[in-house]
Symmetry: C2
Subunit: 615 residues, 2 copies
């Protein structure tokens, strides 16, 4: 780490690949099984049905026909391939791999001799390439690169990686200092190029990514978006140079992919101007523009941000992809700065904003995630713009990467999921970790720590932001004293570890009532129920005879906490009597719209009591 980086408060923790983490829990493990059995095959089928895969065959001249769909449809195929790759890393599947190989051959065929690859332009407007920066040419390419790196890691097969490198080289030859300008309308390629640099060691990819970041905000943007006054350059974060960013603006997914790439850039450069910009825009995003579910981007109009504290519930846009992108960004921030507040956001997204995007059945999806619905919003199997299902397809199998991180002094436990992991410390000592927990339904976590060679190192356990009270044991002893206090979201347990030593962490996981800042007009006089990381909602099916927005909740109401194995794939429900004494059931927000259609609400009207003191 450079001196500059240290001065900027960077810790630069190492991520730990999800391939090192085997989940055996009752919450995520069943979802991954559904993903393999249902979601991935169904996404591939939809890509086939909608001509997304055929577009490659057509562009490669293997079959006749016209381009079908929208200009960014290539990206969906890449994202499903990336998901397939992650899935293969967890579990070999010859059928799935064979199908992936078949598609990769078509992709390779579609690449033009100079490396260019975007079936829309090849088939529809070959002479108009690189004329409209909003047309997602590099966005498509970015997803290709991510898929290629993943598939190479999963299988060792280079074919798609070679296609990706040729494409990246094509970009590099066409754009850059002294060459053409380019402001990619939909960011994605920047973080992909950094991945490609890491996979190949080729610094030109890294440099191109940084150049693309620096291109923004200087008036180089050209294309349909830039010409529309109601959107303008802020829509795709081309309004100010990235190092001058103060506020989150425009399209939510684009913004998050941009900040993710900036965090990647800081990881290497330690550039203090980037650090400042990231911390400013993080605060602006999380402290003024994030729903309690982790959802971001309230507006349908620009699929993004409007003005501070504008967080309407019924009309909330909260694209599933934006929640996923928040995970990408916050994970990177966590590794950069070593602060648990970023892992808190990762957790908030994982259990709420992201997970709501997919039905329990695995084959129906939300693109838009309102926090209240009168009953007409439902998941569907696919969309014309199907970025969200395909983003889930690659997000879910890789979720294990958010659990651990590696530090100079040892390791970090960021998320709690039952399973096993093997992590090599920086000194090479391999540590096997066995996590036992029924998180997110219980706050008790037992971690068995078995280093190959016993020795002194530090294990940091995250104490989530929602958790006020905790207890912790190491080696059978309750820890006390100043050394077991939480700092920047973590307990740090430095001791001599030998095989079989355990940490027992007990996080209080009470029912909590969220109240929003007064500035949030939509939530005034309302509460949102939360338990642990899980945000709750009420659904019509549990409240026969009651109307939308009729239920009230008293801050002093008592809720029976009940784990229901038979309900919604196994959920903890909260049941009590509402402000009018009527039975009332809260279910996890992520699980809504999996039964009969009906209203749903996260923010419930609060019955104002005359009590002097409120918790």
């Amino acid at each position: 780490m450079t001196t500059t980086a240290k001065q900027a408060g960077l810790v630069n923790w190492d991520g730990v690949s999800f391939t090192k983490v085997k989940m055996t829990d009752h919450f995520w493990r069943p979802r991954l099984e559904v993903l393999n059995k249902i979601t991935l095959p169904s996404c591939l089928e939809k890509c086939e049905e909608t001509g997304r895969i055929a577009n490659f065959a057509k562009a490669g001249g293997l079959i006749e026909g016209e381009f079908e769909g929208i200009y960014f449809n290539d990206s969906d195929v890449y994202k499903v391939l990336e998901g397939v790759a992650y899935s293969l890393m967890l579990e070999r599947d010859e059928g799935l791999e064979g199908e992936a190989d078949r598609i990769i051959d078509l992709i390779a065929a579609a690449q033009e001799p100079d490396g260019y690859l975007c079936t829309y332009y090849t088939l529809v407007a070959p002479d108009d390439k690189w004329t409209d920066m909003e047309k997602h040419e590099m966005y498509n390419g970015g997803h290709l690169i991510e898929a290629a790196v993943a598939y190479f890691d999963a299988t060792g097969k280079r074919k798609l990686l070679d296609v990706a490198c040729r494409l990246a080289d094509h970009y590099d030859q066409t754009f850059g200092p002294g060459k053409r300008h380019w402001v990619e309308g939909h960011q994605e390629v920047e973080l992909a190029l950094i991945k490609l640099y890491r996979a190949t060691g080729e610094e030109r990819y890294w440099k191109l990514a940084c150049w693309l970041l620096e291109e923004r905000g200087h008036g180089h943007g050209v294309g349909a978006i830039w010409d529309k006054p109601e959107w303008g350059p802020a829509y795709c974060q081309d309004d100010v140079p990235v190092r001058e960013i103060k506020k989150v603006t425009g399209h939510a997914v684009r913004a998050m992919y941009l900040y993710s790439a900036m965090a990647d850039a800081v990881h290497v450069s330690g550039d203090p101007a980037y650090v400042d910009a990231l911390q400013r825009v993080w605060a602006h995003t999380v402290e003024r523009n994030m729903y309690v579910t982790g959802g971001i981007g309230p507006s349908h109009h620009n699929e993004g941000f409007t003005h501070d504290y504008d967080l309407p519930n019924e009309s909330a846009y909260c694209e599933t992809c934006a929640a996923i992108a928040m995970v990408f960004w916050n994970h990177r921030m966590n590794l950069l700065f070593g602060d648990g507040k970023y892992a808190d956001v990762v957790e908030r997204e994982m259990y709420n904003g992201v997970l709501a995007g997919i039905a329990l059945s695995g084959d129906r999806f939300f693109y838009v995630n309102p926090l209240a619905s009168e009953g007409h919003h439902h998941r569907v199997p696919w969309f014309d713009t199907s970025c969200c299902p395909t983003n889930l397809a690659r997000f879910l199998p890789s979720i294990g990467q958010y659990v651990y991180a590696r530090t100079d002094q040892g390791l970090v436990v960021n998320q709690y999921m039952q399973g096993e992991a093997e992590i090599a410390l920086k000194n090479g000592n391999r540590v096997t970790l066995k996590q036992q927990t029924s998180y997110p339904w219980s706050g008790t976590v037992q971690l068995e720590v078995s280093p190959e060679r016993s020795g002194v190192f530090t294990i940091q356990m995250r104490v989530p932001g929602w958790c006020r009270g905790y207890r912790v044991q190491a080696g059978g002893e309750w820890l006390s004293g100043v050394e077991a206090l939480v700092e920047r979201g973590y307990l740090s347990i430095e001791r001599h570890w030998a095989a079989g030593d355990t940490i027992l962490l007990e996080l209080d996981m009470p029912v909590q009532l969220n109240r929003a800042k007064q500035e949030v007009e939509a939530d005034r006089g309302r509460v949102a129920v939360q338990r642990g990381p899980v945000v709750y909602c009420i659904e019509q099916g549990d409240h026969p005879g009651l109307k939308y927005d009729e239920i009230t909740w008293s801050a002093f109401g008592n809720l029976r906490v009940e784990y229901r194995e038979d309900l919604l794939g196994g959920v903890t429900t909260l049941e009590g009597k509402d402000g009018n004494g009527r039975p009332c059931r809260f279910i996890p927000y992520y699980a809504w719209d999996n039964r009969e259609p009906g209203f749903m609400q996260v923010w419930i009207r609060e019955k104002e009591e005359d009590q002097l003191y409120k918790f």
Copy 2:
């Protein structure tokens, strides 16, 4: 119960005597031992040393000498005797009983031939009896009556009870319809007369109590207090007729004793005007004029109330007796109305406002209970006006009475304390209850229910107002469905009970941050930490180098919850890092000023975070 009573929402539960409840817990049991070994003997000694006991001997002509002390000093002797009686009911002690008998002989000797008893007037101003209603003549008498009833219950000895009856008869002959008016300046005799009615069955005592209540607010008051414009009749609740009371006013202890007697009156009469007045003034007291510790009466000037939301911390008066009197009143309200919100107040007082009044050593007391101190407020062994130590002496041994109540359908568990009890249901079936819990440090309670004859009845378990989430088992099965939801503060478990059946109640007991209503100026921008029923504070001794009011607390701070057997008689401490990252320890408020002197604060300045959502 009369039809009127039912219409007024009265349930008229039966109280269960503390003699039926044997505590075996680690919280209250040791305090009762200290009470027996230290507090009672030390109070008797102080009564001796200060001439309080000798005043009786002098008034009875047994020894020569002048009256010593203040005109209400008789009451302290009576209150200690009442405490001795309660203690004897729990455990025989020949030494203590012998000493009580000796004092009772002196008291009997001091009674004048017509039944009059008040050593101040007998010795100092025999011709001025019944001329100043503020001179506590009946207040003294009320405490005599309470002691007499208790001592008769404890020992079967009638001597003091006979003295009490003669005194009450003297009152009855002197005052009442067609006789003289009387507005007792310091209420107490009213509830005592109702006790005497219950002990003797003599309706004239009950009627006299009701007449005394009705005397108030009609301009009959005469005496020093009434003549002082800065106090006036509101000081002793003589400003309005009791059935028209809307707001709590004046001296806090007097007000609470008045409302307690009114609740006793309603218990028999069901008078809807009294019901309305009680519910109005309860809301006004609890919702606008009660500290988070349960303390009431902010002002030193009148030992009582000022204006709504006037709850200063440093200068809080919060007399220990007023907290005890809140228990008396709220216990009666709970039995009358069957609502857990009154038992919530009982609990708040028990673990905070009342308990802070006595040192862990049992021989030092607070009269005044501020919620913040710069370091100059300390418990002392005795006061010239020693109502508070002597009130604690009678309150603590009888604390078991707040645990259970009996209903038409079965029984109620109001407070959680480990121990055994035997309660006869209304149908005569005797139920043995074994409560296992480490409350207030844990919210898990196991109750073994063993009826003599198995059968169907209902057990109501209180779910405290501070508890948001709970789980409950009966007979080994988790309860679910609408029937296990909380109504008016209780879970009602109706089932067939056989010997050895158990209830397991798990109350979430997280660390909680109290915030006061905006109207409370003193607490603006501040939080008070609470866990379960226990309100916490910070003390200087745990924070070397830090100044008064320097510590801040973030709503998102994490606290390590640690039971410390070695500290302050065994307490759960909460430790974390304050808003400036400095180690910070919270201890129970009741336990403050038991170590080196220094500052103390309950309401800590809140570090304002920019977070959108707050729990």
